[in-house]
Symmetry: D2
Subunit: 372 residues, 4 copies
């Protein structure tokens, strides 16, 4: 049988997202009939023990404690970056310089100016890039986008998008890199997802008015000291879209009890959609075309009618999981590398989100509406 | 048996809210063991036919087409005002001047300065007043307020409150008094409910940043002409509370598919509450004190533990309806008239909401944070 | 104005259901434009104090401790019976003999043979009767029935109906009249609602196979003794309908945590309905006619499209409460008395439910399918 | 680094379940740190084209059109059987005879007597076996089981379990092997899942009373002829558990609109659980120990507290998908092969379910309670 070209993967990082990348590579080629195959070539982690143990589990042939070995290895085609945010830029620029395709976790970089350098470098080098905004890979979000694009909701008038969790709700939690003024805060960390979803569905945001609040002003650091926290625990924005709609956004990491409240509601002249990531295999759809007395929000359950769900499961109602979204993300990246499509969410798109986050921060600070 | 004092009621208006008031009077004295009885004395409507027909149905002894007959009638103790908003002030001031207690539908008046006159007149005349913010009468909102006051949620950090419906979503709907720049718009009409609930639960709002949008810029009037619409179809605000929390508010009357989305979420250091008027006999409660692996939002169903539910029904789960909220409202008013308690939501409170609405309008117009 | 004929009401009982009847009379004439008016004439309770206090609150002119005074009073037109079940028969037969219309709480009588006597007496005397199966008065159940009758679901194939609560879940709860072998048990007490709903929606049940279980075999009585419990804590049945469908029924009063789980699901060739009394202002509807990829259960919220909701409230989404169902029940009874319609659920219908309950009991005992 | 032993896998079948097995092998070793590694050795399908194409996609080294090649290959350690049910027995017995571990999709065999032969052969040969009752692998079902075992619900009194879908609701759908009287029908196909879950949670069922109904009596076959359908479209049972509880079960494949209604409710003396596979990352828990006025069903969202969720994702709320359940299933099988635990659901357990299905069929036919 005809052999598919193999792409050697070098992965930097063995944590939550490192594992998610491996899961993505592994599942993507099983679920999709991709134009390429992935070979898990080298795994890098600063801890040799972690690198060895994960390599054994994940099936990587080689390990290193120096991520530059991956960048320098001419056999490696793709570099997956799941290291802390502050390192993304240096790693990505090195990989791009070495002519490798780069799959980088979000946020692309702490600051938009860094993200811009990365996007421009990738474009100049003509390599493919991917940023891990995995929630966009959900077939139900694609369905929502398709319905909007097809005019099923009519003209869009109003939008509400939030991403709220509670992983920073405990005031005794330690100061981490996520609290670093350079790129940290709830808006950057998870509000960015709400922004990505908003533009994915409704198109460009043109103006923003921000509101950023720090509710836990100090946190202990690992050494027992007290650190002042300057980043937002809650970041909100009023927004205007190019399509004429207005809306609001909230990122909140102190929302006690919320684990994955990445939700949106969209109201158009002919219908509406409501979605919650808490039940992300459903999309709720209201149509004004339904008969009087029979109208209501319809709970559409994910199924083979909603590509690429059918590649995972031929029957509706079985549901995708979070890691499946990673597989869809990897599949899109592979197809882009093979030239079959554009990158679904490349560095340029990642830069866009960074830019929105920073504009909202600046707007909140200046207490003024700003162009986005 | 001992006879309760009877209060004669004069009702102005026979529409939706007129009927709701009758329902309230009628049910309140059946459900509660009130210190007074109500006698439906006189019904006023500009249409004599409507007045006669409704009086026959509701059981009023007398009718008039001139509301001043009610104000002038020395037998009448309470004046219920359910006429169009623009008339509230004149009617209420006349009733107060005649020494009557006044129960007025919301909004109290188109403009805060009018509402202020009304509140001051009532206080000077020492009559009892009540404004119809009926959603606050829900036992589940009282439960939420009690839980917050008792510290069950810890310190409140974040709030989201909305009131969204779709009764103005159809752009071919006619221009009505609700589109009048003096007191009209979504924020005033229903966003006011979201504001009332926010302060009912979390205490005073101290600062606001508004965002008001008109999406349907013209509407036909009844005579076939085109009228420009200046009021907001969607009104939003960022808010700060005296208790240190921050939040957001939205009033939206073009939210296609939504019939009664008066919802809130409150996040504190020890717990959270989520509520939707779409299912208003439930309150969802998250407690960080629950055991690990057993935590989750708890769906508390209204029951006799949540006064005054038990007066309506001795068993839980049977549910109150909208009109029952009116009965609770009337009962509170009756108790205030009898001196047993303060008015639950008097003209001063109605003024407060008007003031908040106008401050948000001004803030949106000036694109500036304002003290509230 | 033209005066409506007045019907004098005598009410026996001042408990939960006594109050609900008063609420029903009071609201019905406010909400509906009924052909008659009700006058709360006489209230009977074995406790004079209770009778006096309730009469004062509810507005009855007279009280008595002897229910026969009501039956004997020629001024009284309607007798409302909310006394313990064991007394229903004697009271109803006396009232019927006196030519009065009778509104009796469910169950009509402990045994079907008693209910039959009552139904036959009423028919012979040509008085109107009503049994309090209030859940059937919900506009959403009427909607479901209308949809089925109109063929919107196609041919009905499957049915699941339950009524589960937890008011007997506590094994330390005392032995009450509800545990009396003559007419007691979960199936009779609340499973009867599930049966009434099943036939209301799908037509006659023709065969049953019962399964009745006692899980708490003894209970203390009020005097500290131990009583053996013979009635069912859980009663189940397989059923066959005349329309060809099959289904199942469950009545369960030890369903810990359930307060009002009166739920059904109906599956037809063209669609399906799902309903829960826990959210009884909603009906969930699936249609196979919806477009591929857009199908789903639609949450229809009660509104003016669903009569008689619009008489309670002109706007959708405001919701009816339990007591409103009582008002609808009373309105139907009043219209039947005035000759405008047949009784919605008369003694003959009450007998039918008793008969079904007993047949299921017998079937469970004999472990055999029985004709119903 | 230490090398894990590799198990060579031979897979028979390339359809829905074939792909699910590949997904399971692939994910299991990425997610879990398993004691073995899997090597996808040979793929068998009667269609050479399908075999080649799938092998290319899934990464199998070899293909065959003759499943016996897999059984005969001494290099192969595990045989995965996802062929039509009627072939399970022959394939499994051959694989067992060759000393291979066997992972077989459900139902294990059309008839219990066949399943018994298979279970006994496996036990005699001392190979490990696994049947694909994947829903049991859900961490939330494990949580439910653990809570029950730990007494958190007190004594179990009542159970309702269903598995309803609509894939046979269309009467114009063709006659398939699933309609074959030997092993076909809704109860066998999906009611079996409801039975497996019931015993997984509550322990052995001791007695059953069945009710099996055929609603679509004839179906076209692929050749245009009409075939009489004898198997059940809806299969129900009353059940008794060894622990003293009673309950009911339904399997229904004509439940219009339902895609994955594998639901249960369990009522105990101290609490209750409610679950729906439609939202299978949630478990709803009611505790009578919660404070008065604060009780309610708690929506527990799957998270790292619920093993093995944490191996898939370190943060709660991200959710597992159907294919993840397959990975958990494979992981359990791998651990059993390595001697680290017993098989989670082996051929003996598969036989048990077949036996229950047949007993219910016989009970329905004989209209009698039967020992199970």
């Amino acid at each position: 049988m005809a052999v598919k070209p193999t792409l050697n993967v070098g992965l930097i990082g063995t944590g939550f997202m490192g594992k998610a990348h491996v899961f993505g590579y592994s599942s993507a080629q099983c679920v999709f009939d991709l134009p390429v195959r992935f070979n898990l070539h080298t795994l890098a982690d600063v801890s040799e023990a972690a690198a060895r143990s994960s390599a054994r589990q994940f099936g990587f042939a080689n390990v290193t404690t120096n991520w530059r070995d991956i960048v320098d290895d001419p056999e490696i085609d793709i570099v997956s970056i799941t290291a802390p945010n502050a390192l993304h830029k240096e790693m990505a620029l090195a990989a791009i310089a070495a002519g490798k395709h780069v799959y980088c976790e979000k946020p692309l970089a702490p600051l938009a100016q860094d993200a811009r350098e990365m996007a421009e470098a990738a474009e100049a080098a003509n390599v493919r890039t991917q940023v891990g905004f995995n929630y966009l890979c959900n077939p139900m979000l694609q369905l929502a986008r398709d319905m909007i694009a097809a005019g099923e909701l009519g003209d869009i008038r109003g939008y509400r998008g939030i991403h709220c969790e509670d992983y920073m709700a405990d005031a005794s939690g330690l100061f981490t890199f996520r609290h670093d003024p350079a790129g940290g805060g709830a808006l950057a960390d998870i509000g960015s997802h709400a922004l990505a979803t908003a533009e994915f569905l409704c198109g460009p945001i043109t103006r923003v008015m921000g509101d950023c609040v720090t509710m836990i002003p100090t946190r202990s650091d690992a050494k027992g000291g007290q650190r002042s926290v300057e980043v937002d625990d809650i970041g909100r924005a009023f927004v205007r879209f190019e399509n004429g709609a207005s809306g609001s956004i909230e990122g909140n990491w102190i929302a006690t009890g919320r684990k994955m409240q990445h939700d949106f509601e969209i109201y158009g002249t002919k219908g509406a959609l409501a979605f919650s990531q808490e039940r992300f295999n459903e999309l709720h759809y209201f149509s004004t075309a339904d008969a009087a007395g029979r109208q209501g929000f319809r709970r559409i359950e994910a199924g083979p009618d909603h590509a690429p769900y059918g590649l995972f499961c031929v029957a509706p109602g079985h549901q995708l999981g979070f890691n499946d979204l990673k597989a869809i993300e990897v599949a899109g990246f592979a197809q882009a590398i093979a030239g079959e499509r554009d990158e679904p969410f490349n560095f340029r798109a990642g830069l866009r989100i960074q830019h929105l986050v920073e504009t909202i921060h600046r707007s909140a600070h200046e207490m003024n509406w700003l162009e986005a």
